[in-house]
């Protein structure tokens, strides 16, 4: 046995190869941020810089993902210990996300629990017509909760080895996620307040907008998992990427419930 295994490395951990993607992705994200600012503030050629940022970021993401897929599926570097480390990383990342949202909620409650005299001493502020929580926001709540159920269905189907049901469940999740994003876009364009006209709009769009970005990221995350299921890369037991996307999706789901209760419902009355 010694003769066989000494030909392999003697420890289960993955020492990663040098990779260009961290630094290249950093510059792509800088480009994306600068592009977004120049575009939104109406600078000349801002749209071009923003588009370039999107292209470069997508490029780096796809190639980086491809490298990780090669390391995991085709080179077999992801031993039990490596998978454990990846899962701890995802959980710590989600904890950091929880605190990012905590700060946004803090800002919301800071301004809404004891409304200043400048906004009429009331929340919503005088002159603001808030959105009806029991119209589109309630529908969105059902959409997100249903998508959470569908992704659980897909996950259990994958574990049970049912390829078709797994793919169907994940596709339905993505469809509901896209409808959610579309409805949020529709509601943003119909709302009677903007991000720049006062504290209500600022708190509203900072919190729901941050959540909206997370929904988009989660949708991409799940879409990558779908592609990997279709490409036979995920096995019945080894699918950490898919599990991470599910965890992330449930996190986004829970944040929405808090948003719905605090910002849409309580913040409306």
């Amino acid at each position: 046995m010694n003769k066989t295994i000494f030909k392999f490395q003697h420890f289960p951990f993955h020492l990663v190869d040098p990779s260009p993607w961290p630094i290249l992705l950093s510059f792509s994200l800088l480009n994306l941020t600068v592009g977004a600012v120049t575009y939104m503030h109406g600078f000349t050629y801002g749209g071009y810089i923003l588009s370039l940022g999107f292209i470069l970021t997508t490029f780096c993401m796809v190639l980086w993902f491809r490298d990780v897929v090669i390391e995991a599926t085709y080179l077999g570097h992801h031993t039990k210990e490596v998978k454990n480390g990846l899962m701890i990383g995802v959980l710590l990342f989600i904890v950091s996300e929880v605190f990012a949202f905590l700060s946004v909620f803090w800002a919301f409650f800071h301004s809404s629990l004891s409304p200043a005299i400048e906004i009429g001493g009331s929340w919503p502020p005088v002159g603001i017509t808030p959105l009806d929580p029991f119209a589109i926001p309630l529908l969105n709540t059902f959409l997100l909760l249903s998508s959470g159920a569908f992704i659980t269905y897909g996950h259990h189907a994958l574990i049970a080895g049912n390829r078709k049901a797994a793919i169907d469940g994940v596709i339905l999740t993505i469809v509901l996620a896209v409808i959610f994003t579309g409805l949020q876009y529709f509601e943003y364009s119909e709302a009677g307040f903007t991000m720049a006209d006062g504290i209500y709009g600022s708190a509203f769009y900072a919190s729901t907008g941050l959540h909206g970005f997370h929904v988009i990221i989660g949708t991409i995350f799940i879409t990558v998992s779908l592609v990997r299921i279709i490409n036979y890369q995920l096995t019945t037991k080894h699918h950490n990427g898919f599990e991470s996307s599910i965890l992330y999706w449930h996190f986004v789901d829970v944040v929405w419930l808090f948003l719905f209760v605090a910002v849409y419902f309580w913040g409306n009355t």
């Binding site: 046995m1 010694n2 003769k3 066989t4 295994i5 000494f6 030909k7 392999f8 490395q9 003697h10 420890f11 289960p12 020492l15 190869d17 040098p18 990779s19 260009p20 993607w21 190639l63 490298d67 090669i70 390391e71 599926t73 085709y74 080179l75 077999g76 570097h77 992801h78 031993t79 039990k80 210990e81 994958l158 080895g161 049912n162 390829r163 078709k164 797994a166 299921i229 036979y232 995920l234 096995t235 019945t236 037991k237 080894h238």
Partner: protein, 155 residues
């Protein structure tokens, strides 16, 4: 037993390699990852048979590389990667040092005395040709070299 399991996977592996030769080289040509292993032959390739079309693959069908090695080891009841702590029931002496099993000519040891956690952890190297002594408790460690003389030492 384990060896035969690994051996049994060889013909399938070679067949799989031969059939995917063109795609493998294409993969390599565009690969941005650099192999940092210096010298020595690459580790043997371990392949499963892969999933049948329309099914979800299982680990035993699809896992490769170290992941497969660990999996095959588990099926045979062998722990491929030994992560158990060293013997801390006694203080090692020059006549009877604490043995440190190793496939490499050198290992880093973290000593906490005997019984374990008697003192703060002290890290030091234990080499094949020379015993090492913990400067805190005086415990002596010696390498129990199990690898091949000129095997690959690097990851």
């Amino acid at each position: 037993m384990f060896k035969t399991a690994v051996r049994a996977a060889r013909p399938a592996a070679l067949a799989a390699r031969a059939s995917t030769k063109s795609s493998t080289s294409a993969l390599r040509a565009f690969s941005t990852s650099v192999r940092v292993s210096s010298g020595g032959p690459p580790p043997p390739q371990l392949y499963g048979e892969g999933a049948k079309a329309g099914t979800v693959p299982t680990d035993i069908e699809q896992a490769t590389g170290l992941e497969r090695l660990q999996l095959l080891g588990e099926l045979e009841g062998i722990k491929v990667f030994d992560d158990s702590p060293l013997d801390a029931s006694r203080i090692g002496t020059k006549a009877s040092p604490v043995l440190v099993p190793s496939y490499d000519v050198e290992r880093i040891v973290g000593c906490t005395g005997s019984p374990a956690d008697s003192h703060d952890v002290l890290w030091f190297n234990v080499r094949k040709d020379k015993q090492s002594r913990c400067t805190e408790c005086g415990s002596v460690y010696a390498l129990d070299f199990q690898g091949e003389e000129h095997a690959v030492h690097h990851h």
